[in-house]
Symmetry: C2
Subunit: 187 residues, 2 copies
């Protein structure tokens, strides 16, 4: 099993059970690898496994979301594309956000807080840049971008809490149409 395949499953375990909730025996069972084998690939132990999972998502953000947002397509089209990718990534709300899980899970330790904050900010900034292209002033673009991610996060929490994909699907549909309607009028 390649490291890449292992990491994909690590992402899955951590976002299902959280950092403390994902035990090594759990990970071992799910990946089919013995604990010692896991330590061969990740000498830093559990912490390095979580870092690897976060790395994987950083790469996803970079190569999928941020790439779309900075493409040469029409601004509205770029946002649309981002939404589609988000829907696919979170499996219509069935999968939760690793960032949210880790950030809500632990407080005192800054194990992952900083890098998650940074990743969130990058995403927000990228959306804000597109919104500015569409005519919004800097401040409103930033607020709208933040609001977009906020609703995605809220939708994922609700989808899990209510055990239904509907809140997520409805939210994404609403976000899409609202983002599209921005360019058509100046405030």
């Amino acid at each position: 099993m390649s490291r890449e395949e292992i990491v994909v499953q690590l992402v899955d375990v951590f976002r299902r059970h959280g950092y403390e909730g994902a035990s090594l025996s759990h990970i071992s069972k799910l990946t089919g690898l013995g604990k010692a084998s896991l330590y061969h690939h990740f000498p830093g132990g559990k912490e390095e496994m979580a870092e690897a999972a976060l790395d994987h998502i950083d790469r996803w953000l970079e190569t999928t979301i941020l790439k779309s947002l900075s493409s040469r397509a029409k601004p509205a089209k770029r946002l649309q594309q981002m939404c589609d990718q988000v829907q696919e990534f979170f499996d219509e709300g069935r999968k939760s956000c690793l960032w949210a899980v880790l950030v809500l899970g632990e407080s005192s330790d800054d194990l992952f807080h900083n890098r998650i904050k940074q990743a969130l900010s990058r995403w927000i900034d990228a959306i804000a840049a597109v919104l500015q292209e569409m005519g919004l002033d800097k401040e409103e673009a930033r607020d709208r971008a933040e609001e977009t991610i906020l609703r995605i996060q809220g939708a994922l929490v609700m989808a899990r809490g209510l055990d239904s994909t509907r809140p997520f699907q409805r939210t994404m549909k609403a976000v899409k149409s609202e983002l599209l309607g921005i360019g058509e009028r100046s405030s």
Copy 2:
């Protein structure tokens, strides 16, 4: 230390560290009580402690939020009041939601999932009822209510993730003014 005071701190520990992350030594240290004392008050162990914490929040929902939403005040006033109470409860975004923490933390076990789902539904239904009073049809009222809770949850995640109370404060302000603007026009 009364049981009530203990439970208040239990809520705090669980929403800061999650269920698995909140170890007994952790709880013991934070409450100042030895394990024997904890097991005297909560014979069911850690699980009962978490249940007690959830009970506490259920009581808060009942006596604060739901009570406000079903008062004799003007519908818009009731929603306004609810928002104020939410802002105070979550300390302007500094404290996170125990429901979200627990629901994102564990997946397979249905330890708390069901009761959290039920609590969320009660809250949504209560808001929807008020919105119907304000003239919205049943379906839209329900959607708008769900959207309200969704944005609160999203705001709490973002507040934690970005390490700032701003997303939460801005969201609550926006939610307030949007809810107020509903009665003034019929769709």
